[in-house]
Amino acid sequence: MYVAVKGGERAIENAHAWLAEERRGDPAVPELSTAQIREQMTLAVNRVMAEGSLYDPDLAALAIKQARGDLIEAIFLIRAYRTTLPRLMASTPVDTAAMAVTRRISATFKDAPGGQILGPTFDYTHRLLDFALLAEGEVPPAPTALTGPAQDMPHILSFLDRDGLIEEATPSDEPPPDLTRAPLELPADRALRLQALTRGDEGFVLGLAYSTQRGYGRNHAFVGELRIGTCPVEVDIPELGFSVEIGDIELTECETVNQFTGSKTQPPQFTRGYGLTFGQTERKAISMALVDRALRWRELGEDFTGAPAQDEEFVLSHCDNIQATGFLEHIKLPHYVDFQAELELIRSVRAAAFASREAAE
């Protein structure tokens, strides 16, 4: 017999009230504003925008505050919010060659035109706790250097491309499939994989990327170029009949140079992996490029070695932390009836086992 059980409303209300109190913490400590989170927890904000798949620093900061700093919970809030927004249009693809770069490095060419620009990076820090941050204090402004007029920063891989040493990135204007509009279908094309990876969980994509480096689907990646900076977003406005820029967004882009393919008819060439993510999220962008490259084994005529990072079904079905969290955490919700059935079953099996043992004795 199935009996619906109600109740728990008061407990839930009180739990939420306590949650709000815990969120606030010690009232003797000044409350954190969302502007403070946006300005001082920028990389958390960036991760929430990237995986929440919505570029809006104010909302990401609000989500982080509401989620008490639990970034996956914050991403969940952003994903839920974005479903309430009408989709007005799609942008023309961002032109990352015209990025106003704050960081741009290459691990393949020391003297790349445009130079190696370190930007505000944790690299070369000693990873020692800086106790000076315990005290409040002014930070001196960062040094500046004279610059010429702004120039486009050509992609480093375009130099290899010019000499035919790397596979071409074939331009097209095919409208891409959209994960947020149609359920994932396999096999997926590269556009769909890139969308899934860019909003995928940083930890999961990092782990997969690392596994390729350790030999599970090895493709020996060099960071051909990593760049961070802002790009204008341009949309066609139907009522005007021309396109306008609706703002600038910060992006991280990683292009990897990987080991070659070639055949009897085609001389060997380097191959590419690609990562592009919202905000300053370089660990994610590099990971994305490595996993993108691993997933391209079929189109590049490589062997499937059974490595997780090569397995499109495995990667795409598990990289989304909101899907994963939803399914994982649902098992803590009441399963009284399911469990009751299991309990009945095990009791009857045990009773039968005891009965047959007694009969044997």
Partner: protein, 143 residues
């Protein structure tokens, strides 16, 4: 007015700090909404390998509106974020720029906004330039 001029000023207005635009514009001229401010999302696209086939990168928030000034000038705005009054002000300036007040509007509103934005870009470029690596080779004295 050319299409490319209008494109440029709409871009400047979209990028402007909402408060700065409000300070520069002052009290709003009389206007009638043709399309009330609407908050929505634009799907931002990238290209595989920077130059290849497009893919969906993720959405961004955007607010749009259309209005008409007394006298019939129509202004449109598409601005990043969720600030409805920012969109209204941007549309008002877009309308003003198409009429007889374009020269004064350019001087009083667009020029300072442009200046802010180019100063900001220049400051970022100067900081980036200071982190540019100057490689040098150590003389090893082996030969």
């Amino acid at each position: 007015m050319t299409m490319s001029e209008r494109r440029d000023w709409m871009g400047v207005l979209a990028r402007s700090q909402p408060q700065r635009l409000a300070d520069l514009l002052g009290p709003l001229p009389a206007h009638e909404m043709l399309r009330n401010p609407e908050i929505g999302a634009v799907m931002v696209r990238g290209r595989a390998g920077a130059a290849g086939a497009p893919f969906n990168l993720g959405e961004m928030t955007v607010t749009r509106c259309s209005l008409q000034l007394q006298g019939g000038l129509v202004g449109h705005a598409y601005v990043q974020g969720r600030d409805k009054s920012h969109a209204i002000r941007a549309a008002i300036v877009d309308a003003l720029m198409q009429g007889p007040q374009s020269a004064t509007t350019r001087e009083a509103i667009l020029a300072p906004l442009q200046q802010d934005q180019s100063a900001h870009r220049a400051a970022t470029r100067a900081k980036a330039a200071a982190t540019k690596v100057e490689f040098f080779t150590m003389v090893r004295g082996e030969d």
